[in-house]
């Protein structure tokens, strides 16, 4: 693995995105539309958006980045470009980190746009730091990307890749504390939610939005980052140069 090859890969992926402005538009606009929809639904109860807004700020980027990443990398497998890359000096780490870097950049942009939208248009009020919340949203979008990268290695077709969403993301959404407090869930589910990265992603967002100090938020942030790195490493390990 070398920095030159990793950055070349990231640059290449960003160039591909640049040629596809419609996808960039969807990535930026879609979460804003969804956030706007929720704000509109609870127009008369602003406390609802204040309570759920920070969580949605985390959830939407995870969703979108998961899908975008898994489909893009799968396309690389089915088009034969991955096979060709595997005959070149590129390292498996160059490939995956290149993807992670370029999508992190995209995710950062998305998080900033969505955070600004939530604040100025949807009227989301938080006690804590906006910069901190945007930072968490970026981290979580990168988590979504790395989950997408890893699950695309299991999928054989684009159809399967899209189906990975209800397998990997939706169960986490249900038990991560968005629907009900985790302590109110049956014990087994609570334990399962302890093992779900989205749980920590959400808690970090809540801590920061509630005006908690960094000391309170950092264990959740560290766990989210740790999961992201672990999932990326798993992706590197499952990538094969030789296939049947």
């Amino acid at each position: 693995m070398t920095a030159r090859r990793t950055f070349a890969t990231a640059r290449r992926i960003l160039a591909q995105l640049r040629h596809d402005p419609r996808s960039i538009g969807l990535i930026m606009v879609l979460p804003c539309v969804l956030m706007g929809l929720v704000a509109w639904m609870f127009e008369d109860q602003p406390q609802v958006i204040d309570q759920f807004g920070p969580m949605l700020l985390v959830v939407f980027p995870v969703f979108v980045m998961f899908l975008v990443t898994s489909v893009t990398t799968l396309r690389e497998r089915t088009s034969g470009t991955l096979e060709r890359l595997m005959t070149t000096p590129i390292g498996k780490g160059d490939f995956l980190i290149g993807y992670a870097l370029s999508f992190a950049l995209l995710a950062a942009l998305q998080a900033v746009v969505l955070t600004a939208w939530a604040h100025w248009v949807c009227g989301l009020d938080i006690a804590g730091s906006w910069v901190g919340l945007a930072g968490v949203a970026v981290l979580d979008a990168v988590l979504g990307s790395s989950l997408g990268l890893a699950s695309s290695s299991v999928a054989r077709t684009e159809f399967q890749a899209v189906q990975m969403m209800p397998v990997v993301i939706v169960p986490q959404l249900l038990i991560c504390g968005l629907m009900m407090p985790r302590s109110a869930m049956p014990r087994v589910l609570e334990l399962l939610s302890d093992a779900a990265p989205l749980t920590y992603a959400l808690e970090a967002a809540n801590d920061i939005a509630a005006g908690g100090s960094w000391a309170e938020a950092w264990p959740d942030l560290a766990l989210t980052a740790g999961f992201t790195v672990a999932v990326l490493i798993a992706g590197v390990l499952t990538l094969r140069r030789r296939t049947a």
Partner: protein
């Protein structure tokens, strides 16, 4: 089986050495027991009907095919070794370049992986006669142009061994001619080329012909040898004669 073409090369000149290669894909044995040696500087045509194992053999040579047995050595190292990745160029049958990038963006990326710069990119685009399309998206090019982009990627860095899976498919006769001239000049410069094709008239342009049938070596000969052995007038006919003989054996 037809008689062997070239003389036995010295070990130092062996670019590809395949011994008792066995490849199984799913439940199908694609290559039961395949052996072949390629010396430096030859243009070797790999011919055979579709499904005969040409692509699988090429994948084994570039080291992306899971093999069930036997050995594949390239330039004295096991196929797929890290040191080989800048010395072997591979063009897959499907056009494996990024259709949402321009010609020069594609080449620039693969060049960066090999540690090459702009001059090599421009030179390689020239070689496949795509200079006029350097700024065009690959997805907007014609089929023949796309496959030349894919070929250009394989040519980057002047690899010692070029493995080309049907590089001339979909090209008009003029372009096919110019590509074969390019292959010839590369071979004269010491590059070894393993080129698959199912267009038999291309066979006459090779130094040596390896004919595959159901994963087995049907013949290893020269274009002239192929015609004289079979008494056929052209390569197409010769293949049919051999195919009939082999079919009669089983």
């Amino acid at each position: 089986m037809a008689d062997l073409a070239g003389t036995t090369p010295g070990a130092a000149d062996v670019v590809v050495g395949i011994g008792h290669l066995k490849v199984v894909r799913g439940k199908r044995v694609v290559l039961p027991d395949f052996s072949l040696t390629l010396p430096r500087g030859q243009v070797v045509g790999l011919l055979g009907p579709s499904g005969s194992g040409k692509t699988t053999l090429m994948r084994a040579v570039v080291g992306v095919q899971t093999v069930a047995g036997g050995t594949v050595e390239v330039l004295g190292r096991p196929a797929g070794s890290p040191e080989l990745r800048s010395r072997v160029g591979y063009m897959t049958q499907a056009v494996s370049v990024y259709s949402d990038l321009t010609v020069s963006e594609n080449l620039t990326y693969f060049a960066a992986l090999l540690g090459l710069g702009r001059p090599e990119v421009a030179q390689t685009i020239d070689r496949v006669e795509l200079a006029d399309h350097a700024g065009d998206l690959v997805g907007r090019l014609s089929g023949g142009e796309r496959s030349r982009v894919s070929l250009a990627v394989a040519l980057l860095g002047s690899p010692e061994l070029l493995v080309l899976d049907e590089p001339t498919v979909g090209l008009d006769p003029v372009l096919r001619q110019s590509l074969w001239d390019l292959f010839r000049s590369l071979a004269t410069g010491g590059t070894t080329l393993l080129v698959s094709s199912h267009v038999m008239d291309e066979a006459t342009r090779c130094d040596r012909l390896v004919l595959l049938r159901q994963g087995r070596l049907l013949a290893d000969t020269t274009p002239a040898g192929l015609l004289s052995q079979t008494g056929a007038r052209n390569a197409d006919q010769a293949f049919l004669v051999l195919e009939r003989q082999a079919g009669g054996d089983t």
